[in-house]
């Protein structure tokens, strides 16, 4: 197996570990972002090939392989969705800090009363 794929699996595991242990809301958001990025990295590593050329119709040389364009199109969409969720989550965390004065998950449960 390719070393890149193993590394991106490793990033998935790190971010899952972070989601399970981190008490801070901002760290949770960061871990979510890492998970998203590692999923993207995983997909791009799976379809990556060094010899292939870019898939533009006029420049196709029949002797060479062409890169599959679909994964890149899909992943740019996934990145956009991730950015939207991150922005919304950061806005919510600012509001939570205004209301409760803390960004700690356990502290928030205590203050619920």
């Amino acid at each position: 197996m390719n070393i890149d794929i193993l590394l991106s699996f490793f990033v998935v595991l790190i971010s899952l570990f972070g989601l399970v242990v981190s008490r801070n809301i901002i760290k949770s958001i960061i871990c979510f972002n890492m998970l998203q990025a590692s999923a993207v990295l995983l997909f791009l590593n799976f379809v990556h090939s060094k010899e292939a050329v870019i898939p533009i119709l006029s420049s196709i040389d029949s002797n060479k392989n062409i890169v599959d364009p679909l994964p890149q199109a899909l992943m740019i969409t996934a990145i956009v969705i991730g950015a939207a969720i991150t922005a919304l989550a950061l806005m919510f965390s600012i509001k939570i800090f205004h209301y409760y004065g803390t960004l700690d998950w356990d502290e928030l449960i205590k203050r619920e009363g």
């Binding site: 998935v12 989601l19 919510f92 619920e112």
Partner: protein, 531 residues
């Protein structure tokens, strides 16, 4: 006729944008106009699809394996029908002639378009995009009141559901690597040959777990009671009636693609645990909306018990219960919202005398309560008796279903205490709200009594064994009601410390993530043991 699937996605979205941009009193009526347009377009399409059975649309005329595909069959048709009805009723509920908040209307209509797209798409990646869009928009609608509690609930909902959907993305990647396409039809045709490889199993497990997070299955339902409790009444009804079902819809679709039969028993068990733990928490709660939210979980468990078979009458029983649940749970949430709005308290022990203040609304809510507890003549009875009849070969499974039903009755005995007694709260009249609740109650009674034509039209099944005049069923319901009342008076009402402990159980975000991983590992172990 051919492009109607596209129209019913984009009419609400475009109407929502116009409402947001122009923002005045008259432009708000565009919401009603767009609803009327969708309904007018949808009725001939319904007849068209009933003739043809399946309608596929490839946007841009591309090949099936490459292009964007929309596909409607009878399942998605029934879901579209349900969602248009629910959106109508909720629009009637919050409509106010003097002022409707344009931001609320924007998100509400946009959500309708996105949700109708989710039901019609035939592409795994577009499904992902639509689910994420519904998650974002419903998170914004949950925090609509902008107090601390609702913002926390919305944040939890957004982050946890997004983490779940990342697993869907990983599963989708694995499918794409193996099969090379994202079209659901093509995948289900080609994947039969390589079904037993580990990579396909992993893809299935990841995708189903993500759908489990959306649909609130047993270990990962913690976001649901928070979100449903914090949202405004109309949004709680929408979340509980429809948006939770997006997960179950995905569950059905992914199950149809992969067809792994050895997970059926597993999902039956998950369904039982979901139902049982939902009932257990619902009995201990005191907040009126929390009780209803936990009952959403328990009813989803019953639906899952039915759906887990993936074929046959048991599956249709689960499907019918899903539709019935949409009606009676929306009814109860809307009624609870009206009560909270007037009484300004949420504790079930402090609300009294609802029957004197709202005589008509109380009757409709009692219809809802009778439906959810499975009384004969109402719609919950029909689907529950289908499920029970199909499980008759296994004694343990029937006992499981009856335990859940008894728990439901106990907590609704507790809930129904709000109707008795007196109160001196001044009440305003809400004609449109009561009217929308009345329509929902009417739907419950109609489905409960004319289930035969509805089932044969929408689902193509016969139900000869469901009979309202079966004396055994009546006796069983009344005995259950009596036992439930006794248990309520002797155990629940005294508020022992164990019940208090269950009520104050709080599960943090980290623990929820741990449970998500636990869910994945359980599925991996189950699949490796059985094959």
């Amino acid at each position: 006729m051919e492009f109607i699937p596209v129209y019913i996605i984009f009419i609400p979205i475009i109407a929502s944008m116009i409402v947001y941009l122009f923002n005045n009193k008259y432009i708000s009526y565009l919401a009603l106009v767009s609803q009327i347009l969708i309904t007018i377009i949808f009725i001939p399409y319904f007849n068209f699809l009933k003739e043809h059975g399946i309608h596929e649309l490839y946007i841009g005329g591309w090949n099936k394996a490459i292009g964007i595909a929309l596909k409607n069959d009878m399942l998605s048709l029934a879901f579209i029908c349900l969602s248009i009805i629910i959106w109508w009723l909720i629009l009637i509920y919050f409509w106010d002639r003097r002022k409707v908040d344009y931001k609320f209307l924007f998100f509400f209509l946009f959500l309708e378009g996105v949700f109708l797209g989710l039901l019609q798409t035939n592409d795994l990646f577009n499904f992902f995009v639509f689910v994420e869009a519904t998650t974002i928009i419903s998170a914004i609608l949950i925090i609509y009141k902008k107090d601390g509690y609702s913002i926390r609930a919305g944040f939890y909902y957004l982050l946890f559901n997004s983490v779940g959907m990342i697993f869907y993305l990983i599963g989708l990647i694995l499918v794409y690597i193996v099969v090379g396409t994202l079209n659901m039809d093509v995948i289900s045709n080609t994947i039969i040959l390589i079904k037993d490889t580990n990579i396909v199993k992993m893809a299935y497990i990841f995708m189903i777990v993500a759908m489990g997070v959306k649909a609130a299955f047993f270990p990962v339902y913690n976001w649901l009671p928070k979100a449903h409790g914090a949202a405004p009444a109309s949004i709680s009804a929408l979340l509980s009636g429809l948006l939770v079902k997006s997960g179950l819809y995905g569950f059905i679709r992914i199950g149809q693609i992969f067809q792994f039969n050895y997970f059926n028993e597993f999902f039956f068990l998950i369904g039982f645990f979901t139902a049982f733990s939902g009932v257990l928490f619902a009995i201990s709660q005191k907040d009126i909306k929390q009780i209803l939210a936990f009952h959403t979980i328990s009813q989803i468990g019953i639906v899952l018990m039915g759906l887990s078979s993936m074929s046959g009458n048991l599956y249709y029983g689960g499907l019918l219960h899903l539709f019935n649940h949409a009606f009676f749970k929306s009814l109860l949430f809307l009624g609870a919202g009206l009560i909270i709005n007037e009484y300004k308290v949420r504790r079930v022990t402090e609300i009294r005398g609802v029957f004197k203040n709202f005589p008509f609304m109380s009757i409709y809510m009692i219809v809802g309560i009778l439906s959810i507890t499975g009384a004969p003549l109402f719609n919950g009875f029909v689907s529950k008796s289908i499920i029970e009849y199909e499980l008759k070969n296994s004694f343990i499974k029937v006992i499981m279903l009856n335990i859940v039903n008894l728990g439901t009755i106990i907590s609704f005995v507790k809930f129904s205490q709000i109707f008795f007694g007196n109160s001196d709260v001044k009440i305003n009249k809400h004609i449109n709200r009561t009217f929308s609740i009345f329509l929902l109650a009417l739907m419950c009674i109609i489905i409960g009594n004319f289930y035969n034509p509805i089932a044969s039209h929408l689902l193509n099944i016969d139900l000869p064994y469901v009979c309202h005049l079966d004396i055994i069923k009546w006796v069983k319901y009344i005995v259950n009601l009596a036992i439930g009342y006794v248990i309520y008076k002797k155990v629940i009402d005294r508020d022992y410390c164990l019940i208090k402990k269950i009520r104050h159980t709080k599960i943090s975000f980290q623990t929820s993530n741990l449970m998500l991983l636990f869910f994945i590992f359980t599925m991996i172990i189950w699949s490796s043991i059985l094959v």
